[in-house]
Amino acid sequence: MPESHAGEHAHPTAGVYLRVAAVLVILTVIEVGVFYVPAFHPVLVPTLLFLSALKFTLVVMFYMHLKMDSRFFTFLFGGPLLLALVMTMGLMFLFGAFALKK
């Protein structure tokens, strides 16, 4: 009997997986492009972080099926992820990574 679970819905089709892959490739090309274009350098860090977060979200939502699966899995993953982000920001703040350079 195929294994399926309560609170979960059908996984995406191969077509959706291919479209997500195409978007991931395009975003990676944009990331690398932005890195090499001097005009983007003043906004390089926020742009790259935004693109990276977008790719991260696409993989987690569609390939790891969090969009369709039980909300409890989102909680199990999202909770530690949020904690990890807060920890990273906190450590960087404590060790002066955000200090203004004189």
Binding site: M1, P2, E3, H5, A6, G7, E8, H11, T13, A14, Y17, L18, V20, A21, L24, V25, T28, E31, V32, F35, Y36, L44, V45, L48, L49, L51, S52, K55, F56, V59, V60, F62, Y63, M64, H65, S70, F72, F73, L76, F77, G79, P80, L81, L83, A84, L85, M87, T88, L91, M92, F95, A97
Partner: protein
């Protein structure tokens, strides 16, 4: 199949909890890299040594391996063992290419003078990317085990969850690389 009181499979729930703990492991390594960034007193420095075109290809390789993984899962779920074998093998192969690229990168860095002991960049870079590489190695071995089971006809629709859990691990390794590629390689 064991269910929890939430009606969810306990293996999948445990694995999501494990992935959550892995988030904290990698966050601690990435934090350490970021804290020590720009504090090396001797070279080589990131901009001297990091090869963006080469790493971009590795990133593309890992993204494509994630696509192969979901196609393998879809094939197992519809009972298409022939394509499941193909996609599982290709996922493992792309993972192996990624590891080969990392071995090449590490070797060339050592030849250029960057070692674990050389400076803070070397120490934090090798620990972070090396830990990720170790995770990829485990993933490749797991995938090859599933492929071997498929070859012997022991992987059917009843094992879809086993493949899905392996896929969760593999995609997690991919998302960690998405972050490393941006934070370490592109934001120098």
């Amino acid at each position: 199949m064991e269910r929890t009181s939430l009606g969810l499979d306990n293996r999948k729930m445990a694995f999501w909890a494990f992935i959550g703990s892995e988030c904290l492991l990698f966050a601690s390594l990435i934090s350490t890299y970021l804290i020590y960034k720009g504090r090396s007193v001797v070279g080589p420095y990131p901009h001297d040594i990091l090869n963006i075109p080469f790493t971009s290809i590795s990133t593309f390789d890992l993204l494509m391996s994630s696509l192969m993984m979901v196609l393998a899962l879809a094939a197992v779920q519809r009972g298409d063992l022939r394509w499941a074998k193909v996609w599982l093998f290709l996922t493992a192969l792309l993972g192996t290419f990624f590891l080969a690229g990392q071995v090449y990168e590490f070797t060339s860095f050592v030849h250029e003078g960057l070692t674990l002991q050389r400076n803070l960049f070397g120490a934090t870079f090798f620990v972070l990317t090396g830990t990720h590489g170790a995770h990829v190695t485990v993933g490749v071995m797991w995938l090859l085990t599933l492929w071997w089971r498929a070859l012997r006809g022991k992987l059917g629709t009843g094992n879809a969850l086993t493949v899905e859990i392996c896929g969760l691990y593999w995609h997690f390794v991919d998302v960690v690389w998405i972050v490393i590629f941006t934070v370490v390689y592109l934001i120098q």
